[in-house]
């Protein structure tokens, strides 16, 4: 997980989930949070969702359908890890996720999400 290089913070996985569910919309200093996703078919998005929200993606669909009634939409998407890094490096309110080997001094890594079993996904819960 990466944020702008000027931002000093630590995040727990729960806080991260709250941000990407838009249950938490502001940084502690009162500035709005701008979360960005990878596109839905990317491996990074799949890993992020599985590790942060668990295996039951149906619940996320139900959640966002209900938010849609209020006109609240999921975080915007970007097409590549490079695009996410460029955006987060330039937008001090942003948070995003990229492959760890792409992290450099232009952004700050605040949480590392590992895939403990990248090939052992249980599709029955999806």
């Amino acid at each position: 997980m990466i944020v702008h290089a000027d931002r000093n913070l630590q995040l727990t996985r729960t806080e991260l989930a709250q941000i990407y569910l838009k249950r938490r919309r502001f940084w502690e200093n009162g500035e709005p949070i701008v979360p960005v996703n990878r596109n839905s078919v990317s491996a990074a998005r799949e890993l992020f969702v599985r590790q942060v929200f668990g295996d039951d993606s149906r619940r996320l669909e139900v959640y966002w359908n209900r938010q849609y009634f209020e006109g609240v939409l999921p975080p915007a998407t970007l097409a590549s890890d490079e695009a996410v890094k460029r955006f987060v490096a330039s937008e001090r309110l942003a948070i995003g996720y990229i492959a760890s080997d792409l992290v450099d001094e232009s952004v700050k890594a605040v949480l590392r999400i590992r895939d403990p079993s990248p090939v052992s996904e249980n599709p029955s819960h999806r």
């Binding site: 989930a17 919309r25 149906r58 849609y68 006109g71 939409l73 915007a76 937008e91 029955s124």
Partner: protein
């Protein structure tokens, strides 16, 4: 015409605001869509993207247009079968800045009804402003809402529209206990409340609100209260896996007052989702006093078997006790809800009851909802 004028005024405001919005660097702008677009069109205000079930995003304007519609097929005891395209709702959201959001839910109602017994049809199209409000956010703990919004009572009334519920019919008490909407002001927000487990601190959500002006686009049946004031507290797991809440609402109509108190609870784990509400209303406004409790359970069959993904079993029991000559009713609902995709919801169920009245009947309810 007045309704149409209001809607046009809203659209004009949105358009003016959209043009006035500052333009960020295009090369760094994230795709302003909630997910992968079904189609995209380039435009001077950025990419116009449509996402299935999530609506149309108009580039960098911050304007988003979507909606939903539901086709209902009901057959109640002693009544003819009916097929109804009851409404098309257009959801218009405009978020030009992170601290401000305007939202409208415009309903084209009474579109088409077909009596399956006689073959007769009926249509009486009307435009209703279901919701119209602006939000000013001063942080997660403090938000100000002004306009017409859902009355923050309990769980069901917060998101009562057909595509977002598990059954094709609502709990009975929602018909009479309180007004679905308020027109006025609301303060709401969320704060960390401590006491959490492995997920971190729990959250306390609050709403304080009042109908401080005449109801916008008021319905004639039931007649809404002239003025009201209420509050709601909700204590929840940080990710919303469980929550308990309480609501209070005082309403005044033609000088008469009544008072509502309610408790509610929600819990979900794995394939199971449970929720319940208890509501009591007492006072002098006619036909509003009641005592009601319902509990609803949902089981996701697809949790264990991919072939059944999106298929849910649903059961609900309600005890409805209106004051006056109407008898108390025990009402059961059994059914299923199937969401083959996130933008299509198919529901069917049967309602049992030991009483029949203006509010309660036995019969078959079904619906097909589309988010667009």
């Amino acid at each position: 015409m007045l309704r149409l004028a209001r809607c046009l005024a809203l659209v004009c405001c949105l358009a003016i605001g959209s043009v006035a919005r500052a333009e960020p660097p295009a090369s760094l702008e994230p795709t302003p869509t909630p997910d992968d677009p079904f189609f995209s069109i380039g435009s001077p205000v950025g990419s116009i993207d449509y996402v299935l079930g999530r609506g149309l995003s108009l580039g960098r304007t911050g304007l988003h247009i979507g909606g939903f519609s539901t086709l209902e097929i009901d057959k109640l005891q002693g009544e003819p079968g009916m097929l109804e395209l009851d409404s098309i709702n257009f959801l218009v959201a405009w978020e030009p800045f992170e601290f401000f959001r305007a939202f409208a839910d415009l309903e084209l109602g009474n579109l088409f009804a077909w009596n399956l017994s006689s073959g007769g049809t009926d249509s009486d199209v009307s435009l209703v402003v279901e919701r119209l409000f602006a939000d000013l956010s001063l942080g997660d703990p403090l938000n100000l809402r002004f306009g017409k919004f859902q009355t923050p009572v309990g769980i069901w009334n917060m998101i009562p529209a057909e595509p977002f519920t598990w059954t094709a019919n609502d709990p009975i008490f929602l018909e009479t206990a309180f007004d679905e909407h308020q027109t006025g002001l609301s303060l709401f927000g969320s704060i960390d409340a401590g006491g959490g487990g492995v997920n971190g601190a729990n959250t306390l959500n609050y709403w304080v609100y009042g109908q401080v002006m005449d109801a916008l686009d008021r319905s004639e049946d039931p007649i809404p209260a002239d003025r009201s004031a209420g509050g709601r507290l909700r204590y929840a797991d940080p990710l919303g896996d469980w929550a308990v809440g309480s609501s209070f609402l005082a309403s005044e109509l033609d000088g008469d007052w009544n008072y509502l108190a309610g408790l509610d609870a929600f819990w979900q784990k794995g394939p199971v989702e449970l929720q319940g509400e208890w509501t009591i209303v007492r006072g002098d406004i006619p036909d509003r006093n009641l005592w009601d409790i319902y509990t609803q359970g949902v089981y996701h069959l697809g949790y264990h078997t991919r072939a059944l993904r999106g298929l849910h079993l649903v059961g609900r029991f309600e005890y409805f006790n209106p004051s006056g000559p109407e008898p108390a009713s025990h009402i059961g609902n059994l059914g299923m809800a199937w969401t083959p995709t996130r933008f299509l919801i198919i529901k069917a169920g049967y309602q049992f009851t030991d009483q029949r009245s203006d509010f309660v009947n036995r019969g078959f309810f079904s619906s097909i909802s589309v988010l667009f």
